[in-house]
Symmetry: C2
Subunit: 193 residues, 2 copies
C-alpha cells in the first residue's frame, strides 16, 4: 500500500534527482545458491528498475546542494556523482554517458542552536540551519539500452536501506520528464567558489 505521504515525499525527492543502479551481474552461472542470492538481492533492489545501492556513494564528489521546503518537509540535500557522472557534469556532456550514476542524499533541515549562539553577538537574528537526520537516498543510473523506455535512466529510492514500492517508482520518470533538455536530470553542477 502506498501512503499519500510516502508518495508525496517521493515526488519531492525526485526533484533532487531520482535514479537507478544497474543490477550487478554477480550471478554468472545458475545454481540453487545463486537463486537464493538473486532472491535476496531482489529484495534490496528497486522495483521496475532493479537498482541496488552502489557501495561507497557517500564518498562521491559533489554535483550540487539544494533546499526543499513544503508544508510537509524541510530538507537539505546533496547530489553526488560517480566518476563518469562528475566528468560529464564538468564537461557539460548531455546526454550523460552510460555508467553515469547520480545519488541524491536528503536530510531534514533543523536550526542549529549552537551556531545561532555564536552568531547572536555580531549578527542578531542570524539563523543557521544544519542537517538533522537522514530521510532517503535516490539514484539515477544511465543505461541507454536497458532503460530505453525511461529516457535511458533507471531509478531507485531507498529509505533505511530498503527500496520504496512499485507505485513509488512509477512516479520517477514522469516527474523527471520536464528536465528532458538536460537528459532528465534536474541537478546542475555547482560553480567552484
Amino acid at each position: 500500500m502506498l501512503h499519500a505521504s510516502a508518495r508525496a515525499l517521493y515526488y519531492l525527492g525526485a526533484l533532487g534527482s531520482c535514479a537507478a543502479i544497474a543490477v550487478c551481474t554477480l550471478y554468472v552461472t545458475k545454481s540453487t545458491a545463486q537463486s537464493a542470492k538473486e532472491s535476496e538481492a531482489g529484495s534490496n533492489a528497486s522495483p521496475i528498475y532493479g537498482v541496488t545501492i552502489p557501495p561507497g556513494y557517500r564518498d562521491w564528489k559533489v554535483i550540487a546542494v539544494d533546499h526543499l521546503v513544503t508544508d510537509k518537509v524541510d530538507q537539505l540535500r546533496a547530489q553526488l556523482g560517480n566518476e563518469i557522472a562528475i566528468k560529464a557534469f564538468k564537461e557539460g556532456t548531455v546526454p550523460f554517458p552510460d555508467g553515469t550514476i547520480i545519488a541524491a542524499l536528503h536530510w531534514t533541515r533543523v536550526p542549529s542552536e549552537d551556531n545561532n549562539k555564536v552568531l547572536a553577538g555580531a549578527f542578531p537574528g542570524a539563523k543557521s540551519f544544519v542537517i538533522g537526520s537522514p530521510v532517503n537516498v535516490q539514484f539515477m543510473v544511465k543505461d541507454s539500452k536497458k532503460y530505453a523506455a525511461t529516457g535511458g535512466w533507471g531509478f531507485a529510492d531507498f529509505k533505511n536501506g530498503k527500496p520504496g514500492d512499485k507505485a513509488l517508482h512509477e512516479a520517477c520518470f514522469p516527474c523527471h520528464e520536464p528536465a528532458k533538455a538536460h537528459d532528465f536530470v534536474f541537478a546542475h553542477y555547482a560553480p567552484t567558489p
Copy 2:
C-alpha cells in the same frame, strides 16, 4: 580597508568553517626568480596564516551541508574534507590530526523556478531553492605546531581566488573558539541516508 559588510560576511562564513593551508614549501633554494615567485605566492596566501588554495578541493568528499540566513545573506553551503579530514570525521577523531584540511564552500541560495513549476502540480506551494552564484571559500588547516597560537588551526578566506585582508582573518579564531570541544570545528559529519 575592511568594509563592514565584508567583515559581516566573513564572520558568517567562519561559522561554516574557516581555515588555513600550510604554505607550500616550493622554494628550496634562493634566487631572484624564486624571490619573485615567493612574492607572487604571498599575494595568493591568507594573511597571518599564509594559507593558499589547495588544488582539487572542489572534488573532496562531503562532510556536511548547511544553510545560513541573515538580513544580508542567504547561503547554501557545503563543507568538504581532504582524506585526513574525512577519516577523522568518520572515526570521530578529536582533536583532528595534523594535515587535516576542511573546505567550506558558500553559494547564494536562490529559488528554482524550473523546479517549482514541476512541483506545482502535485505540491502547491512547494519551494525549491538551489545554488545561485559562488560567494567565497574558506579553509581550516591543521598544523598543531605551526598554528599553536590558534588551536592548531590556520585559516583562510578566499573570494574570486583572492584572500581577504588581515582584519578579516583576525576574526577567524575568536569566532571558532566556542567550538573548542570539537577542536574548534563547527561542522559535524552528515549521517549516510
